[in-house]
Symmetry: C2
Subunit: 270 residues, 2 copies
């Protein structure tokens, strides 16, 4: 299903600033989660990202109406929410009066092999180094050419994700995931004030840590820090959480924490 401002199968004006400049934000979540506690988290993040770009975020009720229509058609799958600054005049100047464009679309669940959950996944390190832009860091905005170029670096279907470092060599995340590392009873995840996307599942993982007896360190993590960790995990709203089994020459045994986090992600969504 595809709804543009609530209209089924509608199209986008070529002058929409989402197309002209990537001037907008998006989120992807499981349809299943579209009306539980996670929906509140996703909408809050959508609204916060809009606020940072000065885009008027459409009311939650508008998305909810759209999602209800999507769920009437299919109940399993992925829903993507996009907000752009709307139709624009020529030029970069963001118009205060712009009416945002709201896009809600569904897609089937991606066909990841069950072993991704059972055995963990093989991961590579991307060549591309992420740029640093504090004004855009953390936001899931539509300027995603870095992710596109990074994901284009490999074709091997057995490699499920690529890790991205910034210019200084600090690991920021995967092309489509946030990254966590466990060492002893510490849970590490990259600090995202200059690069990367701060996802909703990342927030949820951080929230679960204390209950699992882990102390949280949101900090700069080098590739060496990752390689020396007991357990490395990748997360997003679609995959939940995967353990990293393989990174370059490094192999990890099955971890203890990934299944605990997975169980919490599965149950804390009512």
């Amino acid at each position: 299903m595809m709804l543009v401002n609530g209209v089924a199968d509608a199209m986008i004006q070529p002058t929409d600033r989402g197309l002209s400049y990537g001037d907008g934000i998006f989120r992807t979540l499981l349809l299943r989660d579209a009306f539980n506690r996670n929906w509140q988290r996703h909408y809050a993040k959508l609204a916060a990202d809009c606020l940072r770009l000065g885009i008027v975020c459409p009311e939650a009720s508008l998305f909810e109406q759209d999602i209800i229509r999507c769920k009437q058609e299919e109940n399993v799958g992925v829903v993507k929410l996009t907000v752009t600054r709307g139709i624009g005049q020529r030029g970069y100047m963001p118009q205060q009066a712009a009416i945002p464009t709201r896009i809600v679309s569904t897609a089937p669940l991606p066909a990841y092999a069950p072993q991704c959950i059972g055995d963990g996944v093989a991961v590579r390190v991307c060549q591309l180094r992420l740029s640093r832009q504090p004004l855009l860091a953390g936001i899931k905005h539509l300027n995603r050419l870095e992710n596109v170029l990074a994901r284009g670096e490999w074709q091997d279907p057995d490699i499920m994700e690529g890790l991205l470092q910034d210019e200084a060599g600090y690991v920021i995340g995967g092309t489509m995931t946030n990254v966590f590392a466990v060492r002893g009873r510490q849970l590490y995840t990259p600090e995202l004030s200059n690069s990367g996307i701060a996802g909703v599942t990342r927030e949820r993982m951080l929230g679960f840590a204390v209950g699992l007896g882990l102390s949280v360190r949101v900090t700069q993590l080098s590739l060496a820090d990752i390689l020396e960790s007991d357990e490395v995990m990748l997360c997003n709203s679609i995959i939940g959480v995967w353990q990293v089994r393989e990174l370059g020459q490094k192999r990890w045994q099955k971890g203890q924490y990934v299944k605990l986090f997975r169980a919490l992600l599965e149950t804390d969504n009512d």
Copy 2:
């Protein structure tokens, strides 16, 4: 006029990667220049930008057919050419087989005051610092949120442009222009291997310099370097070239070179 893949008044699929990820490139030029020597330069830059992103660039003849249709409707104005990677499946992975989307649209000439040419323009320094990404630097791609945020920093209609620095404080350009500075018989312009857009008018200006007895330095330029210059100029394909008259507390007299460059830009377009 608005042509999408040659179809008048067509719309964009919401799944177009130009919208999803800003996965594409664009150019803006005067309709007047759409079939002279500058057209060859613009198409070459369009094709080069596509090549760097791995996008199949549509043949020049397709754009030419579109532009002929535009010129039948209006002969004065601005034409914008956009190429996106095309309709995408879910996910960042760029599909080899994607068919690019070609968009050609026209707009009236922007109504800049004649004094911009006669007297020069007032310019400010933007707060936003441009990020560094060598893989994207120089390309006129659709990831332009930095330009949008920078242009949103001021509303004063008497300020015609904002200068952008990188993290290290080097001046990269304006939000919509390339910048040049003259000192003695040297012409300076920022080196753009990490940030910024390398425009066609910039290339043309560099080509004219030798004929004007100026030696060219493409180098790192600080704000202090700009302020200490004899003459500072801004250029793009729509405005041609403007002298900077005012930047913060600094005022410049009318320059000697801006009118020479303007004359060359005007005549070398047949």
